[in-house]
């Protein structure tokens, strides 16, 4: 992974993006999705990004997850200029620094809870004998250790989403990116997921950025950003 020159203006922020712009070309004209977005997130912070559909929330999250490249701008995660990484380094970055929680759980079909949590460890090169302990620890945090060898399609929606959270945690990432993590959950399960997120950030090492429509979820975060027509506002 290439190291950028030290960013002296990080001011202890874990995430620092500035001047981020994303434009799509539909063949006839450039359509702006994100316009000059600036955002700072400190370790231990939980940040919500709200906005109507099509406002560019998910695109912002994908850029933060290095799944999408912006048209211009800069993105530092810690001291690392994440946008300067090549394809292989981006993958390494994702498996060591980032954790994803998607709206629709997105667990791997026909697999057990254990297998779902094992994949990130395999890609991170964690030794086989270390994996069970790390998986159990991650599941303990979401109170699902007793379901470790269950097939994921036998779990309830709330349990599946908790498995997805545990999977995002298993490699102890610095930044968790959650796209509508409670979108398909009832109130009780949503509450539970947010409680887990609260516990995670309380350690002061990890930051969470949540894209949500739900104002109750946003209210549990330390800061709320609003994204409207590609412009981010606090």
């Amino acid at each position: 992974m290439s190291k950028s020159s030290a960013n002296s203006n990080n001011n202890g922020h874990l995430v620092k993006i500035s001047g981020l712009t994303l434009t799509y070309n539909n063949g006839e004209e450039d359509i702006p999705v994100l316009r000059n977005v600036d955002m700072n997130v400190a370790p231990g912070e939980m940040v919500a990004v709200m906005g109507p559909s099509g406002s560019g929330k998910s695109s912002l999250l994908y850029i933060l997850g290095l799944l999408l490249s912006p048209t211009q701008g800069s993105y530092y995660l810690g001291q690392e200029n994440a946008l300067k990484l090549d394809r292989a380094s981006q993958s390494a970055f994702r498996r060591t620094r980032l954790g994803f929680v998607f709206q629709s759980c997105d667990l791997i079909d026909n697999s057990t809870v254990y297998e779902n949590l094992e994949f990130p460890l395999i890609y991170a090169g964690v030794e086989r004998h270390e994996r069970p302990e790390r998986i159990r620890r991650a599941l303990d945090k979401v109170n699902l250790a007793h379901r470790i060898y269950h097939r994921t399609n036998r779990l309830s929606g709330g349990e599946q989403q908790r498995v997805a959270v545990a999977r995002a945690l298993v490699n102890q990432p610095r930044l968790i990116l959650a796209d509508e993590p409670t979108g398909h959950l009832d109130r009780a399960n949503s509450q539970m997921i947010m409680d887990y997120f609260g516990e995670i950030v309380s350690g002061g090492q990890t930051a969470i950025i949540i894209v949500t429509h739900d104002s109750e979820v946003a209210a549990r975060c330390h800061r709320i950003y609003s994204l409207m027509d590609g412009v981010l506002q606090t």
Binding site: S91, D106, F119, P120
Partner: protein
């Protein structure tokens, strides 16, 4: 087609005429000095490339006495190589071999017709015959004969015949067995030259069953043609099948691919995953084919009493696995590359 296969097939095709046996003989006419094959000449014939074995034969008509009743019959004085060269076997008893030749034993083998004619039965092993005042013991009745003249003959060790029979017995006929039908033309063309290195080749005749050889070659050509067509069809259909299966797998698991990439899987991880799956499909098919092939060999072995050599089976097994690897990688490469190059965002949004 492999040489081993041709050799085996050649042995089997002897049942329809022994087209790979070349017959060389001296056309001895009363007005010329008789010619016969010297031992050094026979050795020279054995040295010709493509020759498996040579058998020297002398023949003449014979009067056999049984219960004071004479039988006039063709006698072949043969060496121990004769049975193998002509692909003859015993239907009763045991054919005489090197020991009888070297020991000049008074033994004989009867063709089926000859046994029936003289004894009225085929159960003649152990019976005796009187030839030129000597008593010969019958040791076998011959099978595997497609020439009726030979079926009505008696076979005696060549050394015994030269020692014991009245008159001069000339070994003026040799049978030369070639390794495959591809060698027949070359061997036939080299025989006169090999003979001339040790003796005169005057009145030497070389007979090849050209018509039979042509038929065999035609059968083999068609067999090879169908084998190659089957190979090509397997390659194409198997390849298309695996390609289809893998394309469908990639399509149905697009979200999974996106997810794994989001977890940090590199392109090479996804490529390796799908190539492994493709190889698993093709190698499983190869192993299944090997098991099925083995089962058919065992079954045919029981039914016809013949089976290919073990090393030929192992060679086919290795080729089958190699073929499976080539097919798996060849057909799975494009779908695997597609999977590995998939963009994460579009993959995770795929419905």
């Amino acid at each position: 087609m492999g040489r081993d296969f041709k050799t085996n097939l050649n042995n089997d095709l002897d049942l329809i005429g022994g087209v790979t046996v070349v017959k060389a003989y001296f056309d001895n006419q009363p007005e010329f000095l008789p010619q016969w094959f010297r031992p050094a000449t026979v050795e020279a014939l054995e040295q010709i490339k493509g020759v498996v074995r040579v058998s020297s034969v002398g023949n003449r008509g014979l009067k056999i006495m049984r219960h004071n009743k004479p039988h006039y019959i063709q006698m072949l004085a043969v060496d121990e190589a004769f049975w193998e060269v002509r692909s003859f076997w015993a239907i009763k008893g045991t054919l005489f071999g090197k020991e009888a030749i070297q020991g000049r034993k008074l033994v004989c083998v009867l063709g089926e017709t000859a046994a029936q004619k003289i004894f009225g039965t085929l159960d003649v092993v152990g019976q005796t015959l009187e030839i030129d005042l000597d008593v010969y013991r019958v040791v076998a009745v011959l099978g595997g004969i497609t020439v009726s003249a030979v079926n009505n003959a008696i076979f005696i060790p060549v050394t015994t015949a030269q020692d014991r029979l009245a008159g001069n017995l000339l070994v003026d006929l040799v049978y030369v067995r070639c390794e495959t039908w591809d060698d027949v033309g070359y061997v036939a063309s080299r025989i006169p030259k090999a003979v001339r290195t040790h003796q005169s080749a005057d009145r030497l005749q070389v007979d090849v069953a050209w018509e039979g050889l042509k038929r065999v070659r035609r059968v083999v050509w068609w067999s090879e043609f169908f084998i190659y067509i089957a190979l090509a069809a397997t390659l194409i259909l198997g390849g298309i099948g695996i390609w289809n299966v893998m394309m469908a797998a990639v399509r149905s698991r697009t979200r999974e691919i996106g997810l794994k990439k989001a977890m940090g899987a590199e392109d090479k991880d996804i490529l390796a995953q799908f190539l492994t799956e493709s190889l698993t499909v093709s190698l499983s098919a190869a192993v299944l084919g090997i098991i099925l092939g083995r089962a058919i060999i065992e079954l045919m072995g029981l039914l016809i009493g013949q089976r290919p050599q073990e090393d030929l089976f192992f060679l086919c097994m290795i080729l089958g696995i190699l073929f499976g690897v080539i097919l798996g990688v060849g057909a799975g490469l494009y779908p695997s590359l597609q999977a590995s190059r998939m963009e994460v965002v579009s993959a995770t949004r795929y419905e």
